[in-house]
Symmetry: C2
Amino acid sequence: MSRSIDLAVIPGDGIGQEVVAQGLKVLNAVLPADVKLETKEYDLGARRWHRTGETLPDAELDALKTHDAILLGAIGDPSVPSGVLERGLLLKLRFAFDHFINLRPSKLFPNTATPLAGRPDIDFVVVREGTEGPYTGNGGSLRTGTPAEVATEVSVNTAYGVERVVRDAFARAQARPRKKLTLVHKNNVLVFAGHLWKNIFDTVAKEYPDVTTDYLHVDAATIFFVTQPERFDVIVTDNLFGDILTDLAAAVTGGIGLAASGNINPTGAFPSMFEPVHGSAPDIAGQGKADPTATVLSVALLLRHLGYEAEAARIEDAVQADLAARDGSARTTDEIGDALAVRVSG
Amino acid sequence: MSRSIDLAVIPGDGIGQEVVAQGLKVLNAVLPADVKLETKEYDLGARRWHRTGETLPDAELDALKTHDAILLGAIGDPSVPSGVLERGLLLKLRFAFDHFINLRPSKLFPNTATPLAGRPDIDFVVVREGTEGPYTGNGGSLRTGTPAEVATEVSVNTAYGVERVVRDAFARAQARPRKKLTLVHKNNVLVFAGHLWKNIFDTVAKEYPDVTTDYLHVDAATIFFVTQPERFDVIVTDNLFGDILTDLAAAVTGGIGLAASGNINPTGAFPSMFEPVHGSAPDIAGQGKADPTATVLSVALLLRHLGYEAEAARIEDAVQADLAARDGSARTTDEIGDALAVRVSG
Ligand SMILES: CC(C)[C@H](C(=O)O)[C@@H](O)C(=O)O
Ligand SMILES: CC(C)[C@H](C(=O)O)[C@@H](O)C(=O)O
């Protein structure tokens, strides 16, 4: 294991700045003294686009490649046309660095508000495919802006892309106590993509006889997310279904303020990128109201990915303890970051 | 208004048979004596497919066209390969009869269990596009079954198709007390389809200055469905997002046993089709356990579509009263149907 971490930091827009500062604070506090942490900040996002018109120039894409990992806050602002930063920066990074595993754990921590009555036990992880599906940018518009316009979006699914994410999900399921993997798709309507996913899922399943498997249509899955979330252990699904399900998962486990994610390239060919699931929340930006916990938990995923398992677990324990100790009084972004930094260095 | 109803009935599979019987029972009970009801049953679904290999022969499609409306129970059985009956029967009907309005009201009735703590006020309707999006069957698979397979699904969106559903949704929003319409899409990623939807939505909005408008990405919408469902009045969205959101809506308003839907062609060129949102539930079929309320509420939508507003309202009031009077003891499918039939004829 390398005893140095060379981290690229993209604070981005809105609350991205504030939460990333806390993520770095906790990262510094948790790392043993002999681990050298180097960070380099990249000025990317809405301000940069307004100033220069650039989203992610090649030089910066190349520079980002040289780091061990990337920590990203949030991208997006209402002043930028929808899609410009998403496609030109966030998705560009996920695709350029082949982040085919979009890892999104969901856990209902103690003392955390959930909109669900009866507080079910929730502890599952969504393995969302990150480089295919309707996210590939394959689509177009004909006779744009006229009454005869036709706009298409193509979901692209390959055996290559599906197999690698399905294999990763089986391995993760096997490593967890319950060893259960649910494939979510919509193979009764999206029959071509659906059959590809299901066939590969069933084939790989034979190599994991100890993993219990299940299949749900995406519409039915949303029902179980609110009526019976305890039935899920590991979920594997496509890029768009994963996007939808993980926001819902965040909502039922106490809100998007706690949802962490990793855009992972398990081969190590490119740096993986860790970010909270939430957006830039311009309405509360700059007011110290943002909960940095999702970013701090993303730092835990980052550490685990780089081989710092003990430090990752220490962060997760600190979050758990911090949430359990909450008395309901409002804390600023900074105060939450401080409290977590104290706990991890304890 | 015609004083006769010529109804096609497709009970379909599993609990479809049982719930449709109750729907017809209540329909018979609610209709004034001078309205002549004629029904013709069509044997379509899994059994038919097993027997003859047919899903929906042309002769039957032509015959179905001649009716005033269609009442459908549920289609699908695990013994039939996924997609065969969905594409070959259910979606074939929606597309052949140009059911471009898929209407799905969601209401949290009194005395009804919801998985949501705090019982928010829920009363919204989803206007789901029914003839485009990723449901068009445009897609394919290359090198099927090999490690080099590529499978695509194309979401097709036209100005023609989007404008008519958006107009319908604005008119519905304007007719409701709160006059609010939310467009749900994912225009930061699906930029071509998303811009088409958003542009048409914004253009039509100018004709409805008294309707408050809102836009949400589909992932964010799922969050609000569980944290703040009271914010919704009318929602307009594409075929796939509508599919996902209406199952979630059903779940938060007391379950799929209460969710009604209409596949409507407002031009009257073809018969509209009414069906519960739930599926054929083979696990509980034939046991008298299915709740026929969703089908009975679908009959109310059917009556409203045919101009029998008073009778539609009487059914909805009966359901409301029946749910309010529940004491928690289990009732059979038949008992619920009987209770509703008594209430509407009262
Ligand atoms: C901002 C957007 C492009 C992104 C996505 O759709 O993947 C976000 O919703 C997420 O889940 O990370
Ligand atoms: C059965 C299936 C084809 C259908 C759909 O996806 O539309 C169902 O889920 C629905 O919502 O009516």
